[in-house]
């Protein structure tokens, strides 16, 4: 009821905007299933026939509704044959994720409302991931992880990624790091499912073709006890990204471009579906970057249709059967946006809003104090590989302190083991060291959201930072007067090399 879509009427040269209920259009991706262990690969439940009914539906007595992917996932989860945007439905939740910031409050509400001896609805569907305030001496932050641990022991929660030895994260084999990346890496993200989490960037998992959104403690407390959530079916805005991705662009540029176009409230209460040849060419981590930031446009969720890339990523990660679903050809979209990606340029979001878009080259006179590469949005293996590529291409040293915070323990390992293409076998960590970056830190959410005062790389002074994170609101990384330029890992690395906001083409072309 509170949406604001006024900005959606803006125009732009780079794309064409077909407003309002554009029916049909390119049937995205294949419906055929991938390889793997899914038992019923081709079957899709709760789906209308894409073929046109021979008679008007009203005359057959059976109304079949063409649906978008998001509508279809929610239809399946609510055991309904068809759904319309705006309907409120009770859905069965496949996975509930919580972390150290919102977990204790969620547990508090669960205990208060369901009783001290209540059990969670399904101990295998609750995933608890300490990740926000880990490497800190803040006593309350440490206590919050203890609360999670006690609860997981008491409830026998199957997936709890604990950390006890804060002095050395590697001594904690269970510890993962940033929840959204860990959810993907540990196989908790699966096509067609409903994943809710007490974190706004839970929408990250939409990259797998599932419905994923952030909820508050109270709603999460309810899900803990019942496994159900009352959700309003969002209308879907479709973003068709076509064209070959230039070698100096990353998914971060695409989503900053989109948010700049539709504004920070342009997708409020709506689903954002990303299709097109560019999206199909993206790897899973890049698709995650795209979906991760839909919340920055106010989006309820983002989805990318599952395809071979998805199925391959999932191989060996999960033993759970899943069923991908896809938008019907006749599905109705709230609006359509089309981008020719080959014509786009590297962009940044200037302070203090993710929709404050500018071309990176337009900001070349902005002097910066530091660079931060990390978070769920920009701290994945591919993000660090991209940064390393720029450092490698330049052969120079960074001119400002450059902080690297791998999202998870797995990403950290990759930095120290994966050879960077074209480097003659060097790892990211070697390239970062040669470029004069800070040593990669312990995996966590780090300074993306400021956090306790002693958080690594937190902005405790009013500085200017180029960051691969997701938000640049006042105070986001610590200091209220700090200025954050959101950028792709390419742009962040290029900016580190010059000490100014820099277009990565200066080094990559």
């Amino acid at each position: 009821m509170a949406s604001s879509v006024s900005a959606a009427a803006k125009a732009s040269a780079a794309f064409a905007h077909k407003k309002e209920l554009a029916a049909a259009a390119p049937a995205p991706t294949q419906h055929r299933a991938g390889s793997g262990r899914r038992s019923k690969p081709c079957r899709v439940r709760a789906v209308a026939s894409p073929a046109r009914a021979p008679r008007a539906p009203s005359s057959t007595g059976s109304v079949k509704t063409a649906m978008t992917m998001t509508e279809k996932i929610l239809a399946r989860a609510s055991e309904r044959a068809g759904l319309e945007p705006g309907e409120n439905v009770w859905v069965d939740v496949d996975v509930l994720m919580t972390h150290d910031v919102c977990g204790p409050g969620t547990i508090g509400i669960f205990k208060k409302e369901f009783g001290g001896d209540a059990k969670v609805w399904d101990r295998e569907k609750v995933v608890i991931i300490p990740d926000h305030y880990i490497f800190t001496s803040d006593e309350r932050a440490n206590r919050n992880v203890d609360i999670l641990r006690d609860f997981c022991m008491e409830q026998n929660i199957k997936y709890f990624y604990d950390i006890k030895d804060l002095s050395n994260f590697k001594a904690n084999p269970d510890y993962k790091g940033v929840c959204h990346v860990a959810l993907a890496q540990e196989g908790h993200c699966r096509p067609g499912e409903v994943l809710l989490g007490t974190d706004s960037h839970t929408c990250n998992a939409g990259a797998f073709g599932q419905f994923a959104t952030g909820i508050g403690n109270t709603d999460a407390g309810f899900v803990l006890g019942t496994g159900k959530a009352l959700l309003k079916v969002p209308p879907t805005i479709r973003f068709v990204l076509d064209g070959e991705m230039p070698p100096y662009l990353l998914a971060k540029d695409l989503i900053l471009q989109i948010i700049g176009e539709i504004s920070v409230s342009g997708a409020t209460y709506k689903s954002m579906e990303f299709v097109g040849s560019t999206v199909e060419s993206l790897n899973m981590e890049e698709r995650m970057t795209l979906c991760n930031m839909v919340i920055e446009a106010g989006g309820k969720n983002g989805v990318v249709p599952a395809d071979e890339t998805t199925f391959k990523y999932l191989e060996g990660k999960t033993s759970v059967d899943y069923e991908p679903v896809y938008s019907d050809a006749q599905a109705r979209f709230f609006s359509d946006y089309r981008f020719d990606v080959s014509k786009l340029e590297p962009v940044v979001a200037k302070p203090h809003s993710p929709d404050n878009r500018a071309l990176a080259r337009e900001c070349k006179d902005v002097k910066i104090d530091r660079v931060y590469i990390g978070s769920c949005t920009g701290g994945k293996t591919e993000d660090f590989l991209a940064a390393a590529k720029v450092f490698l291409a330049s052969g120079k040293k960074v001119k400002v302190p450059t902080f690297l915070v791998p999202a998870t323990q797995k990403v950290w390992m990759d930095l120290y083991s994966l050879p960077v293409p074209g480097s003659g076998g060097k790892t990211c960590s070697q390239i970062f060291e040669e470029a004069g970056c800070d040593t990669p830190a312990s995996p966590s959410c780090g300074a993306c959201l400021g956090g306790p005062r002693d958080t690594y790389a937190r902005m405790n002074e009013p500085m200017v930072c180029v960051s691969t994170t997701n938000r640049n609101f006042p105070g986001r990384m610590g200091h209220k007067e700090g200025q954050i330029y959101l950028a792709s890992p390419y742009t962040a690395a290029a900016s580190a090399l010059t000490g100014y906001v820099t277009d990565p083409r200066d080094f990559l072309m």
Binding site: M1, A2, S3, S4, V101, C102, P104, G105, I107, G108, I109, K112, E113, G115, H132, Y133, D138, R140, A141, R143, N144, I147, T198, D199, S200, T202, G214, I215, G216, N217, T218, D219, G221, F222, V264, S265, T268, Y269, I295, G298, K300, S353, L449, G450, G451, P452, R453, R471, F473, P474, G475, R476, G478, K480, E481
Partner: protein, 254 residues
């Protein structure tokens, strides 16, 4: 709802609200009602702080049968567009767990601590205080954007605010406000009308009549009806509402 006992000041109907005997002013009320309008009795009840017996009795006597008839009166605190949850409650304070009563109160003391001091020279919560003198928050578009932290509506409610009047809301903040019952997230029908308000203006939010009155500027605005969310907030959040209406069983053991 994360807080200790709540008494929501409600009247059986809008007309009753106007006719209802005025509750004896608490200290909080006195602070907020420098200008007392004749037609709108101050029914603002503090949630976080202890209720005086008289105020509690008045709240109880007014009953809670009819939805969304509450009236809030007091000073307004005005913020801009796209106020995100980091500005409402900075991340460094998220170690506070809203379901613990002492930490709930502390969250209130940090409400709006993230607003840049240059743009907002007057703090929402005065230094050293636990709660705010401002009963109503007025904001622009997309209020509460950003993170899903429930700490945001909780901090506002814990500081004593009862309603936010904004042009529009970010989805998760709106939902969290309703689910917790901490604040009424209300919308003005006229875009941009919020710009005519200043911090310190004395305002009245009348849910029953869906009007927002700025007494300082003598202007009256229409509010969009809160609809089905009203009774949920009035009950004190979704769990309380579901119990009250029989959707879920009352707790056997308290």
């Amino acid at each position: 709802m994360a807080a200790a006992p709540t008494a929501v000041a409600t009247a059986a109907g809008a007309s009753t609200a106007v006719l209802a005997p005025r509750p004896a002013p608490t200290s909080a009320l006195l602070r907020r009602t420098q200008v007392t309008p004749r037609r709108h009795p101050a029914l603002k009840c503090r949630r976080a702080g202890p209720l005086t017996p008289k105020a509690a009795a008045a709240a109880a006597a007014s009953g809670g049968s009819s939805p969304s008839s509450a009236v809030f009166h007091g000073e307004a605190f005005v913020v801009g567009d796209n106020i995100d949850t980091d500005q409402i409650i900075p991340a460094e304070h998220l170690t506070l767990v809203p379901s613990k009563p002492d930490e709930y109160r502390k969250l209130g003391s940090f409400a709006f601590a993230g607003l840049p001091s240059a743009a907002y020279p007057t703090p929402f919560v005065a230094p050293g205080e636990e709660s705010s003198r401002y009963a109503v928050i007025i904001g622009g578009a997309n209020f509460g954007c950003g993170s899903s932290r429930e700490h945001a509506p909780v901090a506002l409610g814990a500081a004593g605010a009862r309603a936010v009047v904004a042009e529009s809301y970010a989805r998760i903040f709106f939902r969290n406000s309703v689910a917790t019952g901490e604040v009424y997230p209300l919308e003005l029908t006229d875009a941009g009308a919020w710009k005519e308000c200043k911090t310190g203006d004395v305002v009245t939010v009348d849910l029953g009549n869906s009007v927002f009155i700025n007494h300082t500027s003598s202007k009256e605005y229409k509010l969009k009806p809160i609809g089905d969310a009203g009774p949920v907030i009035e009950a004190g959040g979704i769990f309380a509402y579901a119990r009250k209406t029989g959707m879920i069983a009352s707790k056997a053991a308290a």
